[in-house]
Every structure is written in structure tokens, then in C-alpha cells.
């Protein structure tokens, strides 16, 4: 009992320490993936995104906190591998209940278009901004509003739009269309096409960590898992959705805890920490693989009847049990 309470408190403490940097990291990662230049994104957008990604942040923080406890646990104090799962499971129930009672929307779906951006995010005064095959510069003149120099590289033509207002009013105007994710420039006099709509993605932005190849590959796998989960949830009723998500969360613990515990070495403590990152690195690939395989072969198994959607969770859980058994057997052999 003492071990259980101690582990739960430790996990909770780690969770509290980790939640802030992990939420910031996930928010930053998600903002990086929007393709927007972030130099002037604004605190409001950051907080909005942090709120939107709060559930994934809590789940990841909780997972890392649980694994940290397992990675650093004194193996001499662990009487059974099964008991080691319990603190994380109890905490998962508490967090899950918290999410269930506070969030009315379906987990893993994120609100779209919650970012609010204006032309100020894309342009800097006195500086040429490259937007695809265009270069645009805003210059403050003696007039109340600035002038815009719009250079179309393909046509080798520069248009001067004077007295540009930032908003949807005025003869010459610039505004952002968040739904279509475009910057709209309107000037019937200066532009031959009258209105130019430039996708947000065309604006160059400085590269950050999210652009690293390693994160791109990893992000693709995570998105693959997210898609697979959402696709399976579409055809399920609300009760089944919760069973499905709960079982997946359970399998997450079943697979990760024994692996990290196996890596936890009595003689080399750092090995357990490495185990956490190993698990986190492999997990999306493993889940994607299981979802793909069960999608291909799972329909042939009729034994589970109407709970067919639990097939991936069953496979992953089975893998977890096998790893549990292997780790337990090795512990016995080593004494």
C-alpha cells in the first residue's frame, strides 16, 4: 500500500513538473505545423492552442511521468510486476475521469480555425517578404496608411498600392481569410487582377525544430495513429467510443511499463531513462503497424462479436502481456 501511494504521489509530482514544458512543446510543435510565421503570433493564439492541445499534453505528460517512476524505481522494492502497473492505472482513471467530466467534445478532435491572425503576422514594415512567386513590401509614407509594393516575379512587374488599409474596408485593403487560410490583397486600380489571394503557406518562415526530418517522420506516424483512431471512432456510439479509448489507454500502460521496467537496470540507472525515450520513439510506429495489420486481417476474427473495434487493443495488450512474462522470467533467472 505504501508503495502504491508513494508511486502515485511521485507520478503526480512528475506530472505537475512536466505538464508546463510538454504543453509548451506540443503547442509550439502544433503552431510550427500550421505553416505560419511565428515571429508575431501573439500570446492569445499561443494560449488558445495550448488550451486546444491540453488533453494530448496531459496524456503525454502522464505517460512520461509514469515511465519515469518505473524507470527509476528500486527493483528490490517491486514485489510483483502486476503491482507496478497499478499506480499508473489508478492515476489514469483519475485523469480520464477528469477529462470525461470536464470536456464535452470527443477527445482527439481539435477545433479548427481557432487561430486568429492578421496581416501584421505576415508583413514587416520596410522589409521585402517573399510569398511564393511574389515579393511584397510595406512602406510607411506621409499618408495615414502605408503603401504596398507588390512585385510579381513571373511577370516581372511591380505594382504600387497606395494608402493600404489593414482590414476589410477601403478601396485598397489587406486582410486575412482564416477559413481559406489566405492573405487577401484588394486594389482594383493598382492590381491588374483586382484581388490577389495568397495562401498562408506561401509566406516564408524561419525553420525551427519541428522542421527536423526526425520530427517529420515521427509526426507522420502520430498523425497516422490519430487518423486510425478517429476513423474507427466514426462508426461507434458514444459508449463504445469510451470503451475503445479506455482500452487503448490501458494498452499503452500494458506495453510501455514492462519495456521500461526491463530497461531499468539495478547496476546502471541511466539505462532506464534511455528506455523511456526508446519506448516513446517506437510507440507510434508500433501502434500504426498494429492498426494497419488489424485493419487488414482483423475482420476475419469473429470471436469478439460486436466488440470488433477492440481488436487493436487486444493485440497490443497481448504483446504487453508477452513482454511482461519475458521480463518477469528474466528477473527470476537473474534472481
Amino acid at each position: 500500500m505504501k508503495f502504491l501511494v508513494g508511486s502515485i504521489l511521485k507520478t503526480f509530482l512528475y506530472l505537475l513538473i512536466l505538464i508546463v514544458p510538454i504543453t509548451l512543446f506540443i503547442t509550439f510543435f502544433a503552431l510550427g505545423k500550421t505553416g505560419l510565421p511565428l515571429w508575431n503570433i501573439g500570446i492569445r493564439n499561443i494560449l488558445t492552442y495550448a488550451r486546444d492541445f491540453f488533453v494530448p499534453s496531459v496524456i503525454l505528460s502522464y505517460l512520461i511521468a509514469s515511465l519515469l517512476v518505473v524507470a527509476m524505481v528500486d527493483k528490490m522494492k517491486v514485489k510483483s510486476l502486476f503491482v507496478l502497473h497499478l499506480p499508473s492505472f489508478i492515476l489514469a482513471c483519475i485523469i480520464g475521469a477528469g477529462i470525461f467530466f470536464t470536456r464535452s467534445d470527443v477527445p482527439f478532435t481539435l477545433p479548427k480555425g481557432s487561430l486568429r491572425v492578421g496581416p501584421g503576422l505576415f508583413f514587416k514594415e520596410g522589409v521585402f517578404i517573399q510569398a511564393g512567386s511574389r515579393k511584397i513590401q510595406l512602406v510607411q509614407t506621409k499618408q495615414r496608411n502605408p503603401s504596398m509594393y507588390y512585385y510579381d516575379i513571373n511577370r516581372n512587374r511591380l505594382s504600387v498600392i497606395q494608402n493600404v488599409s489593414m482590414g476589410k474596408d477601403g478601396a485598397n485593403r489587406v486582410y486575412t481569410d482564416d477559413k481559406e487560410r489566405r492573405v487577401v490583397i484588394v486594389s482594383k486600380r493598382a492590381l491588374s487582377e483586382g484581388t490577389v489571394r495568397i495562401p498562408y503557406e506561401d509566406f516564408t518562415r524561419s525553420r525551427n525544430t519541428t522542421d527536423l526530418q526526425i520530427f517529420r517522420v515521427y509526426g507522420t506516424q502520430i498523425r497516422g495513429v490519430q487518423r486510425a483512431i478517429l476513423k474507427r471512432m466514426e462508426s461507434l456510439g458514444q459508449r463504445d467510443q469510451y470503451i475503445f479509448l479506455g482500452s487503448l489507454l490501458l494498452t499503452l500502460l500494458m506495453v510501455t511499463i514492462p519495456v521500461v521496467y526491463g530497461m531499468n537496470d539495478r547496476g546502471w540507472g541511466f539505462s532506464g531513462i534511455i528506455g523511456i525515450f526508446l519506448v516513446l520513439a517506437v510507440l507510434p510506429f508500433f501502434y500504426n503497424f498494429v492498426f494497419r495489420m488489424t485493419g487488414r486481417f482483423g475482420t476475419r476474427v469473429s470471436a469478439i462479436g460486436r466488440y470488433y473495434y477492440l481488436m487493436p487493443a487486444l493485440v497490443i495488450g497481448l504483446c504487453g502481456i508477452v513482454i511482461d512474462l519475458i521480463v518477469a522470467a528474466r528477473s527470476r533467472v537473474k534472481g
Binding site: Q130, Q137, V139, F270, F277
Partner: protein, 620 residues
Amino acid sequence: MKNASRHALSFLIISFILCFIFLFVALYIYHDRNLSQEKPPQGETFRFQRDKQSAQTGETAQPKNRFVQRMRSTYTKHWIDPEDRDMIIAKSGLAARFALIHTLQLLPTLVLFLFVTAFSIFFTLSPFQSESFQYHHVAIPSYFTLLAFVFLIILAELFFIPNLFKDSETLVYRSRVAHAALAEARELRQKGELQKAREVIEIYLTIDEKNADARSLHDQILEGLYEQGFSQRQKAEEKEGPVEDEFLFEKGQEAMSRGDFYAALYYFQQALKFRGDDREIRKYIDRAQYEVNQQLGSLSQQDKAVKYYIEKKKDVIDLIETGDFYGAYDILSSLRKNRELAMHHPELIRDVELYYNDVKKRLAQYDFLPEESNSYAWLPAFDHIMFTDGKGFINTVERIASWNGQFYLYGINRYSIKDPRVRRSFLYGKWIGNRYRLKGLEGSREFSRDSTNYMRVPEARDELYFIETGLHPGYLLYFNASERLLRQLTVYERFSLYPALRASGFDIEGRFVYLSRKLGSFFGVYILALILAGIAWSKRSIYEFPPRFKLLLYIIIAPVLCYLFHHLYMDANSMFIYSHRYAARFFLKNINIALYTGIINTVIALFATIFYLSQRSSVE
């Protein structure tokens, strides 16, 4: 120094050197393979045939494997343009530079990995297992080694890497020039323009003199030239080299003896420039001048035309002496065009050509002729450059080409910021005397004259015919590829060029923001190395050697983790930088951004140092 300290120090330094060499070799192989991927099975001929074919069909050879495609596109995006890769001449040199840049960029990861490995595994091995061993025996020398590594990283990031990128860009551009030169020389030879072809192929040979194809083409062109009557005299001149001052003096004496006093005066004046204040030459100059004056005086009144020409020539000499080369050029041009003079008095026209060439050389220091621009139009160019100049114009340039320190602009449009209705288009431009001289003002009266001759620009029109940016065109070339320019700038250039780049409209972050970013990177190495080393020591291996399978996993995962941690720290530093706008607005009024991020990083560094030094010798 204790044995343990000595061992720790030697481990860190030797393993750093070994890892550095290993990394460099591995990256060299990687870059060399990537640069050589499109290498044709045969020589240059095959390459050009294939290029032409792909240009005709609009296709390029694409690998079937998607992963390979993605990796290649990533490679080309960060290191070299895909179209440039096949042109590279010194591939091994470029691969070595890329490998060195890559290795230096990975130095933070390398240092972090070394520290984690040292404190987790190596400092627990037998050389450190004595009863007198204390943690500080390894912690203190490691700390100072870390400071040395951080200093090396600072040098690498601020100086070595930008200079290596500069070298690489130069190599790539020279290769592009060579590629274009070979194609141009072939085309000119086919057209029969052998003299031009020879000039162009010689540009290639200055870049890659060993290329067999280029050498054989050069020989073929020379043979063609001789066949066309390329005179033996020119050949002899080539062997002799440039005219020395003694020759000038001798030529002057020859001209004196045959009574050609104007030519003699020219040669003596030239010889005086070489020798300085020489009494003998001065005597000859005075004599030639006397004879010229005599000739002027001896002319009969009837021969007014001849007198006029001789007076004009005297004006030319006066104008040259006063430095008015445009005036001299105008007179000499009109004298050269005068057929009557050439037919009836060939002795009077001989020195005109000499003065004309001399004046042209002088004028080339202020002005240029469009034919010069046209002769370099084949050079690979940087397209669609846009910048603001110091006179309040926004300029767009269709192409900028560069060779041998000369920069040529083509298709320049200028728009006045003060009055948007004012727009001027020029055909040519050249970087001369720290500014761009423009020619061929379209739609103007002086168009025909200005675009074929040297033409003095009236002071009132100076603003129109010259662009002044305060920025060397070498930087302007990369205005379309900001990342490529920024990575070439050393810390000194970042600071000194910032005002000029910003005034030209280039999107460059502030000097102190840049400093803050770099501070974050260096502090990142320091802080992470100490924290990770501290954690690694507290969870160190108590075995003689760690379990092999777990060690294998460690070797795979730990470097990636170190790499990610360093990047994540830099992201965290970006957040500190971002938070400065709110801090400066609400509670730390107008605090400098570098000072602000410096304080935050220093505080974290202090905690990291305390954590590192507070580790204990005993096993927990």
C-alpha cells in the same frame, strides 16, 4: 594533478578528437555520395547530351523509391540546388566542406553525448576505481574541458561555419560558371565566333584547367583562329607578355625618328608614368612638345582643317591632363570617325587610336559599354532581385551575373518611393566604384547615345543613373535566398552589415535578437552538458562494464536525444526571446533583449552548475 583527473581529461579530449574524425569521415562519405549520385557513366559529352535531352523532354531522372526521393529533396533543399548538383566540378572539395560544416554544426550534440557517456560509463571504469577517488577529481577537469568545448563551438558558429558556407557557395557558383562557359563556347564555335569562343573557354580553363573536353575545345578554337588568319604578331605578343616601360620609351624614340611627334609624345608620357620623374624622358617630352608646337605653327593658313584636327588633339592632351576623360573621349571618337582625315593624313590619325584606347581604359573606371555586359550575358545569373537604395528608389533587377569581381545587372526597373508615378527602366548596369552605373534608359532622348558610348552623367541626373546601396553586390545576389545569405555571414558581418541590409529591405533579424539566439545555443550546450552529466553520474553504471544490449540501445538513442535536447533548448530560448516583448512592456521597461535572455540563461546556468558540482562520490 591526480591520476583520475588526468585520465578524465585524456578521455574527454581523445574521444572528442576520435568522434570528430569519425563523424567527419562518415559525413564526407554521405555528402560525396549525394553529390555524385547523378554522375554520368562517361565524360562531359554524355552529360551535356543528357542535359539537352532532359531539357527537351522537360523530364529529370527520378528515383522510384519515395523515401529516396524525399531524402534527396531534403538534401538538396538544405545543401545544394538540384540543378547545381550535376555541374559541380570539385565535388570532393565541396563534399569535404559540407562534411566539415555538418560536423561543426553537430559539435553541441557531440559534446553532450561525450559528457553523458563519460559520467554514465567511462568515469566508473577501473582507472577511476581507487579508494582515494573523489567526484571532484573528474568533475573539475571536465568542467574546464566543457568551457573549452563551448569556446570552440562559439568560434565554429560565429566564424568557421559562415566562412565554410561562403567557400561552398563560391565553389558552386564557379562550377555553374564553368558549366555555362563550356556550353557557350561550344555554341559560339558552332556560330563561327571563334574569338569570343576563345575568351569564354579560357574562363572555363581558369576554373578547371584539367578538363580534357574543355582543353580539346580550346585547342580546336585556337586552330580555327589560326586558320582564319589569326596573325603571328598577336601570337608573338602573347608570348612576349605586357608592354614594359622600356618598350614604351623605345617606341617613343622610333616615333620621333620618323617624325610622328604626337605618337612620340604619347609614348613618352606613358613611359614617364612607369619610371616616375625621369629626367631623360622629360627631355624627350619637351622636345616632342616643341616639335608638335612647331608643326602647329608651320601649318599654312589654307590647311585650316588639318590645323583644326591638330588643335583638337592638343585639347585632348589638355583634357587628359586635367582628368576630363569624357571630354577627351568625345573628341577622340569624333576624330576616329573622320574618314577624310584618315584618308589624306594617316600620319595624324595614328596617335588618335593610342589616346583613344588609353582614355577608354580610364573611363572603364567610371563607366562601361553595353557590349561588355552583352559579352557576359551567358553567365549564370541570380534572378529577380528586389531592393531599396539610399536615394529612395525601389529597384527590381531581372538578372545579376558575376565573374572575377565584376557584377553585371540586366533589366533594371526603378520606382520612386516619394512619387510612385516616377518609374525608370534601364537595360544594363554594372558595379563600378562602390555604386551601380546604369545604362540604356528606355524611352529617353539620350538612350541611343548612352547605350552605345561612354556618356557623362550630368550631376542633376546622378540620382537616376547611379544606384547607391552601401551594400556590396556579393550580398545582393542572395536577396532571393535569405537563408543562403544569412548562413554565410560571420558575427562581424551580421553586426556591420545589419543597417545596410535592413535599409535595402532584406528581412534580417535585429543584431541583439541574433546575439540572443546564439547565446541560447551556447548556454544550451553548457547547461545541458552539466545537467545531463549530473543525472548520468547519479544514475551511473556500477558494473565494470554496462550490459551489452542496453549499451547498444544507449549508443543508438543517446546521440539522437542529445541532438533533440539541444534543439529543444534553443526552442525554449526562442520562447525567452518572444517573451521579451511582454517583459519589456510590463515589468522590465525597455530592457535590452540580449541582456534579458542573457540573464535568464545565466540563472539557469547557475542552477545547472550547482547541480553538477553537488553530485556525490558515493553510490546511492
